[in-house]
């Protein structure tokens, strides 16, 4: 640990946010589902919600790209927007329900960067 601390050249702002951000680099390593009886539900929820979040973000990106390119009509934009809005709200509710944080759903997508 001392090595890590020695190598912080500069830090400023909301350190709590950053600490969690740095903690997220652990996601580069294989993760395990916590499989003991108390945690198995939360572990599975984390895995499933992470995948749903990935799909949600990818679909939203795709829709935004099509909207920017002018490939969607007004009705389609309205319907897609409403769907993504509701999905986002529902995801927040589910994340809270399982005692998870937005950051728990982060994924390192390799060359694509991070999900969140």
């Amino acid at each position: 640990m001392t090595d890590t601390i020695d190598r912080l050249l500069l830090a400023g702002g909301d350190l709590e946010t950053l600490a969690r951000d740095l903690e997220g680099t652990r996601s580069a390593l294989p993760r395990r589902i916590e499989a003991d009886p108390e945690n198995v539900e939360r572990g599975l929820a984390q895995l499933v919600l992470t995948l749903i979040e990935l799909l949600r973000q990818l679909m939203e990106r795709q829709a935004l790209r099509r909207m920017e390119a002018g490939n969607l009509d007004d009705e389609q934009i309205e319907r897609l927007g409403e769907t993504f809005m509701k999905l986002e709200q529902r995801m927040q509710e589910l994340t809270e329900h399982f005692g998870l944080d937005q950051r728990d759903l982060n994924l390192n997508l390799g060359p694509l960067g991070d999900l969140l």
């Binding site: 973000q57 809005m85 060359p111 960067g113």
Partner: protein, 219 residues
Amino acid sequence: MLYLYAFVRESAEVPDATGVGGAPVTFVALGAVAAVVAEVDGALEATDENVLAHAHVVDALAAVNDAVLPVRFGRGFRDRDDLEAAVLRLDGELKDRLAEVSGCVEIGLHVAAPAQPAQPVGSGRDYMEHRLRDLARADALAADIHAPLAERARAATRSRSVGTTALLRAAYLVPAADVHAFRGAVDEAQRRYGELSFACTGPWPPYSFAVLEREGAAA
């Protein structure tokens, strides 16, 4: 299995180090470059202990050599032939890359934006337009912070984020003598963008500028 730590110049000094799982570290000359390896049994698990042992070997190498191309944890080859075939595929690129990182260290930068409370939006179109604006703003901000720093560095890489909270994750290849000045430039950016959180780390061995890393990124 031959477990790989780094590539170095054929003339490099190999410190007396014990690597992952206690296996002694050895040196395999492959023409103008050499691989720093250890013989291990089977695949290694990515435990904290193993990952740190890997990092210690690379740090020890970087302490006594000016050109080290580190390899990230977990890269193994069946045998020497397998390793040689991989080096052959890199077709001289290793030598150029070693020259590039020579005398340089890696500085990492994370910039995070405060999480934005969900804004009450009315229609579906409002939501979509909000998202487009947020993403464009995040992109522009990240580019404004990154560009002047990249200009000061010998090379720079930037990972893309799909979201808007982790604004920028970048690595800069900086001559060891310029680390202080580079830190000053980051400090200046931090002061200019007071609402954002900055964490600048280093100096690290140039993990983000190693050749296998790029090969992987292109795949």
